[in-house]
Amino acid sequence: MTVQVPMDDASRSYLDRFGELRPRLPGSGLPWLADVRDAGAAAFGETGFPGRKTESWRYTNLASLKKVDFSADADPMPVDQASLPALVYGRESSCRLVFVNGGFRPDLSAIADLPGGATLVSFREALAEWPDLVEQGIQASAPDASDPLAALNAAFMSDGFVLHLKEGVSLEAPVEILAVGTGAAQAPVYHTRNLVIAGRNSRATIVEHHVGLCISSYFSNQVTNFLLEEGALVRHCKVQDESREAFHIAHSTARLGGDAQFDSFAFSLGGALSRNEIHVRLEAPGATCRLNGAYLMKGRQHCDNTTVVDHLSPDTSCRELYKGVLDGEAHGVFQGRITVHPDAQRTDGQQMNRALLLSDKAEMSSKPELEIYADDVKCAHGATAGELDDMALFYLRSRGVPEEAARGLLVEAFLGEVIDGMALAGMRLPLQKNISKWMGDRR
């Protein structure tokens, strides 16, 4: 394995660490996996952590992440059932997989019987029991090699969840994933790899909850690969409520066959720095995706939502709506690229992002990009950033609604458009509660 020496010490120390850990990483006996890991390390080695000169990372500065000396094998603080947050989805969820600092914890998890043809296991277990399935999934969704964080994940990936649905299998209740971050003597880093392989006409809903059980720093580097065969429907809802010192970088890829539907919702509250990057490839006619997100950031929090959608076939569509509320000195980023490839006639792509700035020092950066190489397409994008409507605020107050309650109502109304529009109706109430609590905490 030859690795070009990266420019900075931080990036280099990750590579050194990789050299040491490599023989102990899960699936070390699988030659294909060793190749994937080495290729990831080599790709990361070429660039190291992206700097501001890297176009797709222009607005998200990783300097603070590079400063922390994270440990890849720190022992987490003990976590027991009682310290876990309540189920997001209540009693309705069929199963709950719990991860602590990236590692699967069967003792904390509850796996109900899934219908025949559905498999939900940890990444480690999948590597041991169904290595071919994992290989097929990972090879089929090789992440965008240009993203160094995803490449780093490929090198280190050690646990996560794997959901496999055979043709026609439908999961009625949502599957819940709880990923807990806890402190350790040395701030931990973990590289999680999740795989969702949805066979023809299968259906599933996945609710992912990332929550910090500490106030200290850790680095969660996630990659999730979705593969949706013809007619599959996958809904993914992620609530990110990490520690306020944590780094949460999540890179998702999704490949959609004909008439497949992918619905992604990212709700971000926590983290010092977080990024949801999602790459969707609409590869056959009728494939549609909805990418939605909402975020509430304050203090010096930074939240980046980056979407890259490729329309590769005729008659594909995509709807994107991201809305965020920024207070204090928080920084929001939205980057959205839609590429309509030459054959993709009758593409329908709509993208909108709106930010509400509650303070003078809050900042929003947005960069929409449309690249259109077909002639019969309907594409639109828009971006707004503004303050609360002071006339609406006065109107509410003049009717007797106290100022902070009036602000809360207007913020809830602002985010309501994206929350009410989410496909997963059962998540609306928990998310609304999060918003009210966030507004309450501001006071």
Partner: protein, 249 residues
């Protein structure tokens, strides 16, 4: 009940109210008429406490208490209600939720219990019946997509739910056809009572045929320049405001 004494107010550093004095007794209806730009809406915003409307002199007392130091929500709790000339649209907040937050906001400030959902619904149902407001309108976002008439009726609905002791109606007649005007006037008249005073601001005499005032005042150049009974309104209709605003002649 309401005492406005030598009120001066400025917007963006420009003095708009230039020494306005007006006294309204309990149960009285006063009309204020005046040409465009004379300061009618400014007076209404100063009474309701909108930001940016800076009081530079004088005082305003409601039930003997100074209004000017109060926040808008405190004024609402003290019994002030302003029906806006241009009601505001609030996407994402339903009319029902708006009314509930308003009523409970006022009640909590007064140290009363919040109304529960059932009691609130019953109250709103009673009020909507007389104003011809449909359930559909209650479920829609506040004023979003409402016609001019619906917006004004909605203001009156809010007023009847909040039962203020001082209602200020700023050009509630503007943009209404005669049928809509009658509905609105009926709603207002239903709220007349010995404990409720009203300040009806209008540009036209027409509204005053339906909401008959006890006193009529002419506002020009930021102060009251003439006062009289309801016949003054008729006189103004015939002669126009030219007599009071020389530069408009």
């Amino acid at each position: 009940m309401l005492e406005i004494k030598d009120l001066h107010a400025a917007v963006d550093g420009k003095e708009i109210l230039t020494g306005l004095t007006l006294s309204i007794g309990p149960g009285e209806i006063h009309a204020i008429m005046g040409p465009n730009g004379s300061g009618k809406s400014t007076l209404s915003y100063v009474l309701a406490g909108r930001d940016g409307y800076e009081v530079t002199g004088g005082e305003v007392l409601l039930h003997g208490e100074s209004l000017l130091e109060m926040t808008p929500e405190e004024r609402a709790a003290a019994g002030v209600f302003l029906a806006l000339q241009y009601p505001v649209e609030i996407p994402g907040v339903t009319n029902m939720s708006f009314l509930k937050h308003a009523l409970n906001g006022v009640r909590v400030q007064r140290g009363e219990e919040e109304l529960d959902a059932a009691a609130f619904l019953k109250l709103v149902r009673e009020k909507t019946k007389t104003l011809g407001i449909s359930d559909d309108m209650l479920k829609r976002a506040v004023n979003v997509g409402f016609s001019g008439g619906e917006k004004k009726r909605n203001e009156i609905l809010q007023m009847s739910v909040l039962e203020p002791s001082l209602a200020v109606l700023d050009e509630t007649d503007s943009g209404l056809d005669i049928d809509a005007l009658k509905v609105v006037a009926e709603g207002v008249n239903a709220l007349r009572g010995p404990a409720r005073s009203m300040l009806v601001i209008t540009h036209y005499q027409r509204l005053l045929d339906y909401i008959v005032p006890d006193f009529v005042h002419v506002l020009a150049g930021g102060r009251i320049v003439e006062s009289g009974d309801k016949n003054l309104a008729k006189e103004l209709e015939a002669k126009g405001y030219a007599e009071f605003v020389p530069e408009a002649a």
